[in-house]
Symmetry: C2
Subunit: 370 residues, 2 copies
Amino acid sequence: MMAPVAINLGIKLHVLAEADDVSATTAATYTVGDYTDYDTLAAFAATVDVVTFDHEHVPTQHLHRLQDAGVKLAPGPDALVYAQDKLAMRRKMAELGLPQPDWRAVTTLDELLTAGDEIGWPVVLKTPRGGYDGKGVWVLDSAEDARAANVWFNGDHAALLVEAKVDFRSELSAQIARSTTGETKTYPVVETIQTDGVADIVKAPAPELDDTTANAARQAAETIANGVGVTGMLAVELFHTPDIAPGFMINELAMRPHNTGHWTQDGAVTSQFEQHLRAVLGLPLGATDPIVKYTVMKNYLGADNHDLYGAFGLAMAKYPAAKIHAYGKSVRPGRKIGHVNVLATDGDLDAALAAAIDAAEIIRHGTTDY
Amino acid sequence: MMAPVAINLGIKLHVLAEADDVSATTAATYTVGDYTDYDTLAAFAATVDVVTFDHEHVPTQHLHRLQDAGVKLAPGPDALVYAQDKLAMRRKMAELGLPQPDWRAVTTLDELLTAGDEIGWPVVLKTPRGGYDGKGVWVLDSAEDARAANVWFNGDHAALLVEAKVDFRSELSAQIARSTTGETKTYPVVETIQTDGVADIVKAPAPELDDTTANAARQAAETIANGVGVTGMLAVELFHTPDIAPGFMINELAMRPHNTGHWTQDGAVTSQFEQHLRAVLGLPLGATDPIVKYTVMKNYLGADNHDLYGAFGLAMAKYPAAKIHAYGKSVRPGRKIGHVNVLATDGDLDAALAAAIDAAEIIRHGTTDY
């Protein structure tokens, strides 16, 4: 999704891809290689002016070594570690004085049981690294659940993160861009609806969020962006807790264009993909204003229909104003393969939401009669 | 500019390019070849599902031969000839009963002089084929001018087109998409400001056009699209003649995404490039509504500055809401190398116009102090 904006600004992309058949290879020059191998990373880095990321899984020690060798990384490892390591992130948020769930680092079952008792059950147990879309996350309702989770204390992890299971009203995302020049621009805070741990629907801006809380969340995103020294896009995923000041708690960080920002492709003056490119290249940042009152994004995940292109026609016929985005991925059940944006040009959020959901389901199932 | 929307919809483009260094090669798979050579065209056509065009200069006889060989052409030669041959176009517009300047086909100086006297001087002399951006067009103020133009009756042309020099208030463009299925959708009529025969500024929708005339112009575009059987985007360039019913006259046709439609990339629900792809592939057409009240497009032509990328930063810093589009072309004086779109999100057309012009000039000259 970075490729279209790069073409438009005359910026050349070179992708280090895991395999020939991944999505990014359909849109840009690429080299196939293993992102966990230092020599592969170093050879790739020599071909470009600046290295940025579309996931957080490149080993931190390799990033430090690249940086020491003079490679421009955006974000750099000192920032990226807070998106890679949830324990490091919790410590940093505490240091920055930002609101977050009660949490502990635990390395033994006894510590987990004590943490659960102190925090109050249920708690959420997380692997600090490698989790994604709900993977590496377990909800423990009780000490019994915790004992059953003992399998995770097998030496793979120096410590696990335990945190309170927050009773939130909704989930939010506050995105910000920070340039290599230090310039920052926040996007409107959006509401995200997760299904099975995967972002599924985004309403932009968050329709039931008061301005005071929204502004505080944008300010928190700015505190984090400057506090960790990120360059590029930062998504701060939040729990909306209207009864606990300041009305939100920090859940997780992502340092890249993020699923919760796909609405900006059609609904904001500057999309998160263009903004990320501007930020990592040190270009001035673009305006983040929404173009219309509300935009809705709905993901479509792989299901029974494999003829996406045929289904696009059905969805387009029913919704001439729907903006369909395809990732060029093969269809696998549950895999994110695209999304639909609908602009509520008339301000009717419910109609836009219904249209986005229906269009996505038509694509998933290959029929309007799903 | 087709490439970004193709990536987004998972549609693969293959370009027949004149040379390795033309703009389209930076964004899509390409083959270098001569579009005037039938064998080159046939070999290229065998690699794709459907052939479309970004200019009108592929010889009509080759297109007929390809069509006879079973190649899907969109638009086909029976439609495209009206964008290729201005005399054929004038005859067709007359047949369709559409308003146009008084015109004659002339093959001798005597015929030209008679036509000038009948139509009334000044007249405009045009080569029916091969003209572009003001090339192949001469304004003849008098019989003396016509005699001086005698050089053009050298056997190169079966006939030339002579038409009245219309005293118009402004120039307009009415765009329409027509799908291979016959579905049509018109865009709002825009005002275009030409400089030295080149479209320079577009105001979308045309701010000083009354609804009755605008609707009649959209209806005329539909009559043409169906009358010539175009598939893809059609731009109908018009003279705005408020004192002569129905308020406009047809100037020229283009059967492709057109400079006067670049505003749709940022200002309409469906851009002309996505719409063209949908139309030539037989996908349902997208909504053509403007997203905001006014959008302004300003071209930037090559000038003294060759560091476009550096200049982008200056323009972006001054205008965070400006949408800069670059064509990946090398800078040559007077060459179209990109454009800037500015959305008047607050409805202030004059401010958007001033911003677009200033941003384009900053890019041309590489300084804010030009």
